[in-house]
């Protein structure tokens, strides 16, 4: 449901809600005998009963004199918290489509998501936004799509499958496809006054949307002010307490991230834990990117909540950060984010406020999960053919990975240094000695080759269809390779390997299956995760995709990478809005020293 629909629905039943509250009409559902975690007052109320009517809460208090609804859940003194709100995330990162995602997260208590469907929009453009909006219809949770605004992330420096204009953004709002503005990642464009970027931002302001940002710079004075003054009021890119404090102070909600691979939360909570006087209303928590394995094995936003409490955040404050604070960020606190009369009947019954073991999840007045099992049926979506056929590449050959040496002499080359679990890279420099006129990777020094192939439908210049670079950080064994079409943001085909033949084998494996991830070990394909929807997502249930992904992760370890979920870090090697050195289909992009991003040559 969107806000407008909710307001309309509620406007039609206010007399019924009042009658249920007064005990003159039977409600639909009674949750009795709970300890209410009241996020509005920050206090816990004992012996609280809740009665719902339709999608809304009609009554909160002592219902012993109210007629009993047909459905009664005895809370047995358990804690009742509002349904969790994830104010920034990407469904695509979980490699499943929206219906499978909804089925996967509802048992974990997340009842509202704000998916920035940025990845599929990089592949398909505005039609992905419309398609996503349609897939959300009728799902038993609140989906507030965030309009992607950086497609491609930096125009002119990479090629995605599509681009998004200010007119597209205006259309998405006027047609009701998007409820908020997605992450503005081109912060250099914002602060240096790029007119395209500002024309898009203007559409968000004109439509009175919440604009979300992505500010990853150390300039917390002029630059941060310029970014926020331009409209962005939420950001999930803080990595230090100083950054978090300053963003909160300057009016930007801190969306503390704790995804599968980017685990910023522990670095951020001291921002307020060390400042007990500080108001925490500007702090929220988000998942951003989580793998299906994480959801299936550890949960969704509830996992972040558990971690916050483990880190010492007082439980009620932590709950506020994934409920009322997030609702206020979204300007929807009148509807969601708290358990109060007239609000959405989104509630989660938990055993305690440490482990938050979930026994019941109620979303929009319906019991959607009991003891971790989904209790509603969610239909599969029937996708159009174009959505399932997005890898427009002929098979590649080992020769496609050749890096020609600039001269016969040894040469200083730029090396992208991948740091597992971090969203940024570092630039390093190594002397490379040509062999037969070519530059090869070097397993001894942990230097692999890396290639990006343009994989979308558009006709682009030949020079932009492929780019090559050198990478450190994966410690690949000989004859190993990894290929993926999950490669932020343009989601071109990224291939990394210790030999050209292994790289070609990995790439061709994916070109055959319509996209996904493939690992080559000892020259042969060892694991494949097929992701046919946009080359990013499976249509299978989360458990199956989680299991396939685990095979990929195991294969990556067999290929020599010891780190967990390293495929997530790899998937950012093409994300040129991050520091310090990344590879787009057009070449190496350096973003550092407070300067705008620029192309740099592989060899110095």
């Amino acid at each position: 449901m969107d806000q407008k629909t909710a307001d309309l629905k509620r406007s039609g039943i206010t007399r019924d809600l009042a009658a249920v509250a007064m005990g003159q009409l039977k409600g639909d559902l009674l949750v009795k005998n709970t300890k209410l975690v009241n996020v509005l007052t920050g206090l816990i109320e004992e012996n609280i009963d809740i009665i719902t009517f339709g999608e809304f809460i009609a009554f909160v208090g002592d219902a012993s004199n109210h007629p009993s609804p047909d459905t009664v859940i005895n809370g047995d003194g358990r804690y009742l918290i509002p349904g969790l709100i994830d104010s920034h995330m990407h469904v695509e990162s979980s490699m499943i489509d929206l219906p499978s995602f909804a089925a996967g997260i509802l048992p974990h208590g997340t009842t509202t998501i704000c998916p920035d469907n940025h990845e599929m929009t990089n592949v398909f453009g505005l039609k992905a936004v419309e398609l996503f909006h349609k897939t959300a219809e009728g799902l038993p949770l609140n989906v507030f799509p965030a309009m992607p605004v950086c497609v491609p992330s930096i125009p002119g420096m990479e090629d995605a499958g599509a681009s998004i204009s200010a007119e597209d953004v205006e259309q998405a709002y006027s047609r009701g496809w998007s409820e908020l503005q997605g992450e503005q990642m081109n912060f250099p464009g914002v602060i240096y006054g790029d007119s395209h970027v500002h024309s898009i931002t203007a559409e968000g302001l004109k439509a009175s949307k919440t604009l979300t940002g992505h500010y990853a710079s150390e300039d917390l004075n002029s630059g941060l002010n310029a970014f926020i003054a331009s409209g962005m009021t939420a950001c999930h890119e803080s990595t230090s307490t100083g950054e978090a404090r300053m963003k909160a102070a300057r009016g930007m909600y801190v969306q503390q991230r704790y995804g599968t691979a980017w685990l910023d939360l522990p670095q951020l909570v001291p921002a307020f834990l060390d400042n007990p006087e500080m108001d925490t209303r500007m702090f929220t928590m988000v998942t951003d990117d989580v793998t299906p394995v994480t959801i299936a094995e550890e949960g969704h936003l509830i996992r972040v909540l558990r971690e916050a409490v483990r880190l010492g955040v007082p439980a009620v404050k932590a709950v506020q950060m994934v409920t009322i604070n997030a609702a206020q960020l979204l300007n929807k606190a009148g509807w969601i984010g708290s358990i109060a009369p007239g609000k959405a009947a989104d509630m989660v019954l938990v055993d305690d406020l440490n482990h938050f073991n979930i026994t019941r999840v109620i979303s929009n007045g319906t019991v959607v999960a009991v003891d971790g099992k989904l209790t509603v049926s969610i239909s599969k979506y029937d996708y159009p053919e174009w959505a399932l056929n997005s890898i427009h590449l002929d098979p590649v050959k080992p020769e496609d990975f050749i890096i020609e040496a600039p001269s016969a002499d040894a040469v200083e080359a730029r090396i992208i240094k991948l740091i597992p679990g971090m969203v940024y890279t570092k630039e390093e420099s190594e002397e490379m000695v040509p062999s037969n006129g070519f530059i090869e990777g070097d397993v001894e020094r942990d230097i692999a080759k890396m290639a990006v192939f343009y994989r979308h439908a558009a006709a682009i210049p030949k020079a932009d269809r492929k780019s090559l670079a050198l990478l450190r950080g994966l410690t690949l064994k000989p004859h190993s390779a990894f290929a993926t079409t999950v490669s932020h943001d343009s989601h071109n085909l990224l291939v990394i390997g210790s030999s050209d033949t292994a790289m070609a084998a990995a790439a061709n494996g994916l070109i055959e299956t319509g996209g996904g991830m493939a690992v080559v070990v000892d020259g042969k394909i060892n694991a494949v995760l097929p992701l046919p929807f946009a080359g990013l997502m499976s249509l299978d249930p989360i458990e199956k995709v989680a299991s396939q992904l685990k095979e990929v992760e195991k294969a990556l370890k067999r290929a020599g990478c010891p780190h967990d979920s390293v495929e997530m870090t790899i998937s950012l090697l093409g994300l040129i809005v991050l520091g310090e050195l990344h590879l787009s289909n057009k070449g190496l992009v350096r973003l550092a020293d407070g300067e705008p991003p620029k192309f740099v040559p592989l060899f110095k």
Copy 2:
């Protein structure tokens, strides 16, 4: 400005705002070297500079490397707080029109008001709403008119000059005349399911407005839930800590009132002062009704802020209650309520956080007051003739005040007991002995006569044109009377006196002057305050009206009433939505014991 206009304005200048923040463009105004009261973090930041551009803040931080704007204010280390937001008030209570009101309050730091122009709408209907909207245009402060929804307060139990239908409410929103929904006072109608009341509430929800309430019942379980579930999320009628806590817990912003006569704040702050763990985001402070004397002599919302701090509320929390909390109540925290880049440039420079002596007020980027003096010019509004001619009554005669005895025997009569400074009355009972077939007042027992005359233009049945009752609480001397056309909510002509001739003299004094207040002492008119606009407001500046009102208040003391500002309590004697006994033009209305309001006879 309204939210939409602000969003549009800002959308057009985001590049300029960014350039000013980056130091590449000169801003309009620099406020340097302040202690920023940061209501977002609850902390105070030292050595903060602010640069504005147009109506917005472009930069907050260390501006020493930024080009200096032409206008510079040196804060000299003073505290800077956001412009104050009064989320519930009635301009009419200050007895001056909106331009005079704006001129009166801006030097006191209030930069946003939400006037429920309920009184003039009771006189003129929807055309008052349009007129009010027009008078707000171009004023140098934010005016968010709240659409009055209880006109008359209880249909069928009183006659005002007009009535407001659900269609009227819909029109006010669709035409942009109102930004939120005014106080829903008919809480019995809401909780018992009155369809007219709910049809009006539905219009507010459909238009996604903030709906404000007025819940004055002791039922904090079913009734309160029913009221809130129906849509109302703010209320300024709490008088006890228990009530305040429960409203906050159930999702209703507590608008702690501290007007001229209703001084609820001291009774409410223990709700959170005694609960240091409590989150105070649901607490705001409002003026509701203040006389021109209060504003001229003590200030506006800043006076409430001072009182809160005096009562022990931590200063920053108190500031939050009249800034960010109020902005969140209004769903406008993205624009007003805090000092941050991109927000409205509404700021108040104060010497300290105890007395809050104001040295500068900046509203929408303009310096509007220096050291308590207005520094902008505010034009008078040219009102249409109908607005200045609203007392449709012929002169009255002493015989109009005769109360005929029901029989020759002594009889038990209901007495309205006025309690100075309280919004409610109590019902008492006294034995009255007829004299020549009439019931007279009794100065010895402090029993006065009271009359309500219908004073609007409509043709109504003769029986409804006048009603009579008995009143205790004013301790009037013989031959004294008070008449007023300020008589909530229908603003009929209310006359109270110790003799029929004095009452007639007071009434006729007002009928001649076109409305206002008149006091008769020793049989002669002793003071008159003319209020020609709707019979409620003067067009003179606040100081003049304050001085006239003080004369009325002095005259009331000469007439025997020892209490300060007792005219405010008197003005509620006709407000039948309050407990316990009130008089409308149709007769005595009793509201008590948790039952719907009902007519009761004067004699038992």
